[in-house]
Subunit: 336 residues, 2 copies
């Protein structure tokens, strides 16, 4: 075992094995050009000494695999946890480590991209909605472009205006699917409880919804993209528009908040009010009542995003659609 604060270097291994630094390096990295038994011997010595290569030195010297960077809004949110799971799974297939950063706002996104660049990651996956106003994301986009210009690869999830490979979320179509479903059930007084109006994800889902719903929409409000945001939206809504027969929350997490608020007020779902969400987070099937939602397969999306970065750079950015699927469960029913 190493002495406290002391670390074994390749030079130590080489000396003990009685070979040169170069041979030791080749033996351990599996580079061709060392006799099998010598390489084997060096490996044994290294193991017995508890040698662990220094990736910083290895990176600097031009060897070593780069790791991959992932930026999410909040890892505790099931939506992002799923994406992360997809990304980390694919990274592991390629023996890559992932460095993860949380970035709740545009300034932090920029800072995280910088940090990831400083660590010389090979690729960055940026999840988290872009903004309706492209100016808000301009600094981050420029940083991403600079990263690509310096040889890095990037893939974004749910961002439109970036000149990078992207998995585009099928938000507009998902909105339409939810809307049609509600109309089919006879609903004509519908409220939309949305996340921040500044986000593309919100704007897109809203657009799809409104396109089909037309003037059956009696209310659109904006709240935090969270359980409590959904609950607050529902409470407020019930005061002002008690005539509403259906509520669509712009995410499952918000929808769960809506469900909680409705339960608290003793309003039956779907007997009195139908509720629908977006995403199909893992727990959507298990809430009470089970949530009707538009499924976006986030884990697959995360995996797909990282896979895009393993392709070489393209002349024109690749775009891949997430697709979506309407999942009808018990939270929606015929209008009363």
């Amino acid at each position: 075992m190493a002495e406290r604060g002391t670390t074994i270097r390749l030079a130590d291994v080489a000396e003990r094995a009685g070979v040169s630094l170069a041979t030791a390096s080749r033996s351990l990295t599996g580079t061709a050009g060392v006799s099998l038994k010598l390489a084997e011997h060096v490996r044994e010595v290294a193991t017995s000494m508890g040698y662990v290569a220094n990736m910083h030195a290895r990176s600097l010297a031009g060897g070593g695999e780069s790791s991959i960077g992932l930026i999410v809004t909040e890892i505790g949110d099931p939506y992002f946890a799923e994406i992360a799971s997809g990304v980390i799974g694919v990274a592991a297939e390629h023996q890559r480590m992932v460095q993860i950063g949380q970035a709740p706002d545009p300034a932090t996104v920029l800072a995280q991209i910088r940090l990831l660049r400083a660590y010389r990651v090979g690729a960055i996956v940026l999840a988290g909605s872009g903004h309706v106003d492209p100016a808000v994301d301009a600094a981050a986009d420029a940083e991403l472009a600079a990263f690509e210009a310096s040889g890095g690869r990037v893939a974004v999830v749910g961002r439109h205006h970036v000149a990078a490979d992207a998995v585009l979320l099928d938000n507009v179509a998902a909105g339409r699917s939810i809307a049609r479903h509600l109309l089919d059930l006879g609903h004509r007084r519908i409220a939309l409880i949305a996340g921040p109006a500044t986000l593309n994800t919100v704007a897109d889902r809203l657009a799809g919804l409104r396109e089909v719903l037309g003037d059956t929409v009696v209310s659109v409000t904006h709240h935090d993209f969270s359980r409590s945001g959904g609950a607050a939206g529902a409470a407020e809504l019930l005061d002002i528009h008690p005539e509403v027969t259906a509520i669509v929350a712009l995410s499952d997490v918000m929808a769960i908040g809506v469900l909680a608020a409705l339960r608290e007020q003793g309003i039956g779902v779907p007997s009195m009010v139908s509720v629908a969400g977006f995403d199909d987070i893992p727990v959507a099937a298990d809430v009470s009542p089970a949530l009707t939602t538009a499924r976006l397969p986030m884990a697959e999306i995360g995996a797909a995003a990282l896979r895009l970065t393993t392709l070489g750079p393209a002349v024109r950015p690749r775009r891949k659609s997430s697709g979506h699927e309407l999942i009808v469960r018990e939270s929606t029913g015929s209008a009363r």
Copy 2:
């Protein structure tokens, strides 16, 4: 913007700013000993050139902050997502990046620790249960010890036998709390649906439960620590022990599976059977019916674990208890 594949080095900045490498370095790292205006000038030049320091070089040269490593079993699991959220939050406070690895089995845990060591992280937080048989974790423990010996800091969550700082999960006491609650409700025919018997977490929860439940336990089975594991356990149980009036699943995720299986068979909860879980994952309050559980504050636990690593090494490992809280909701009621 840099040319494709070309990266700006500190030497480029120094040259452009008309100073030496040393002065450029000091200006950018904020080291004392450079006139304010010169430092300011260098910083402007660096920014205008889009310079991003190479952390690998910085680390090698002895400067730079080390990042922190986190190992979880599965980031998509809300239990671990919460822990990760706590860890990443604290890491951000300290301007540290976190490198995250998923490790579903002991061999992978070992591999991940090695990788983290190779990246010369300053600290490792290992979440994920230890094993009843210490031999299973021996290799990982040794690697952790070697890491500490070489100056690294480590904190584990829910592992007993490691000679490192640890946040100990209050599993035994949590088991007792759930057990007492069930007994108080008059249940005398109780089934336990557990995760893998090899895990400490399972053994401890089971121990607390059995200590209080005594011979009211009619069945103990082991399944995957997952929703489907819980569902399978419940289905199997109902066949063999229809007389059971209460089921405790060893995690909320499993309990959600139990709830699903019961619903499928039309068995009322808690009218026919009461169900309880462990952890209080964020969604526990929103499932149907709302889940009675023993809360372990995972986000705080993750945060506490990382904070332990910021303290200097201790002569004897620090142990911190997670504490727990019985949360009674609607899935438990009087025995029929």
